[in-house]
Symmetry: C2
Subunit: 348 residues, 2 copies
Amino acid sequence: MPLNALVAPQTDPTPIFEMFRNGYATELLTLAVTDFDLFGLLAKNPLTFPEVCDRLKLAPRAANVLLTAIRSMGFVNFQNGKYAPSEAAREHLVSGEYFEVGGYVGLVSDAPQVRAMAQCLKTNKPMKNREEDTGAAFIFRDGVTSAMEQESSARRLTLALAGRAKNVAPSLAAQIDLTGTKTLLDLGGGTGIYSIACLQKYPHLQAIVFDHPQVLKVAAEMGEAYGVSDRLILQAGDMFADPLPECQTILLSNILHDWDVPECETLVRRCAERIPTGGRVIIHDVFLSDDLGGPYALAMYSAALFTLTEGRAYSAEEYRTWLRSANLSPQPVRPTLVHCGLLAGAKG
Amino acid sequence: MPLNALVAPQTDPTPIFEMFRNGYATELLTLAVTDFDLFGLLAKNPLTFPEVCDRLKLAPRAANVLLTAIRSMGFVNFQNGKYAPSEAAREHLVSGEYFEVGGYVGLVSDAPQVRAMAQCLKTNKPMKNREEDTGAAFIFRDGVTSAMEQESSARRLTLALAGRAKNVAPSLAAQIDLTGTKTLLDLGGGTGIYSIACLQKYPHLQAIVFDHPQVLKVAAEMGEAYGVSDRLILQAGDMFADPLPECQTILLSNILHDWDVPECETLVRRCAERIPTGGRVIIHDVFLSDDLGGPYALAMYSAALFTLTEGRAYSAEEYRTWLRSANLSPQPVRPTLVHCGLLAGAKG
């Protein structure tokens, strides 16, 4: 009896992920005070985003993660194009103020996780994979050793990530419309669980999981376990370098958040080129608020992505911009689970 | 013009402390999954508190901090004297369950702060003071070097803690009733800021700050700055070993939370012995809910205290028990600021 990827969980795992990521609040708030004096800087003069990047010597990605987090906590406001401290931050987080508590916050500034986050922010590079010391966890790039290139770590990481995907896959299959799609291309599909759920819902669908060879070994096992291996095609390749198969529908499920803006634009464009008129590129991801001010839970997720990948969380508006640049028409967001949603761009 | 300790802040600094302490959620949730398999254990059979201590090989203090945190997150329930996983925890945090996300949570199990917390829990000992490597930060005990015994670190830590105390002192002075008190004994009074606020409010009051010599140097400066040094007596001593002065009112402001239950009982008793009939021992601290199930913000504070001291956060009911054992009658709690409140025990 094959497993059923369409059965949804009885309870929502979202609070578990939220609690799990709370540590980024400690790290980013501490660094805003100790290493960046963000509140002191903004208390002198409200600054624009490029000015913050310049003054703090931060790449836009790093500044974005820091500012989104601090704004989501309510300690920085964004008005008239400029960032300024909240009233509470002005009173309590500016050095030398009578009611300052920055010294208290600064007590953990030398803790290893705070230093590791400082290093990420200042270099705009993901954290080294501590345990395996084999380089960045989820990214593939010339000159960067990825844990995904080693079979044992690839398997462990892929299965760990699958825990979340299994919970979300039934919602994705319920929300995605694949009527009229003969073949779905699941770019960077990992275990293939999203494809598998779609294959179980649509009996005439084929799906191609496109990923690195070590990851596809796990996808092959999953295809067998869920009884869809006859319609699950596994294609090894590099989504930035190799030709992508032509398909009616291309799914980018939790992929773009691993990459910085230029790579996202490239990938959306590469996908758009491989779909026919009437075809769709479907982004499945979390969406920051369009003003990038939160919400808090996604600001924490963005920090996680920042330290693990070359990406961060993006807003629906950022994704829409890239879809439009690739001549795709953004469709309304359809929520799935664990903060995620589907945002399709239709061609023609 | 002396400083005024009675002026309250315009804005509430509480959310800053809350955000700052969120990292303990990451550490404790991760360890509940990875090192302790708490949810797997409780899913087999709900357990009593002594059973949890026994099965996890945790001292009561450590088990208390872990269980209060996980309960405050909503992942463990306490019913009929036993702990059991919530429905969501049963589905998502028990190893081998289809919708388990424990592998995802486990990805950070080797992070240094998670290992450091594991060490604290398993040994029931505070973290080493990383930066100065001079031992535990806030405790004084034979054979334990305390950062407070070195002038530079004592000064830095004392002033860092004072950032919070300055915000709270005006509320304490407003809520505490010292009519009829000639001399207030401020045990472990640190900078003396609470005494100073009381001295400014009550012009005929004297206060004795009783603390370690290096700390009293800071209190002396503060007494000068606030213009109350003529009524601020600085007495060096060890509150567990040395005789305490007799006083009408003894204040234990954020002191008992640094110590484990037997020391708290001893200290409350030592204080009760030094007040006359009609006198009071006043505890100023945070209060966990009486069932020790939260709230979340104080569960995080309890974790902070656990890693920095030999104590944790206690419930008002725990404090009342110790007051009653010392023949003191607990009075109603009067809230101050930053989650704190006053709980007095009256003699006779």
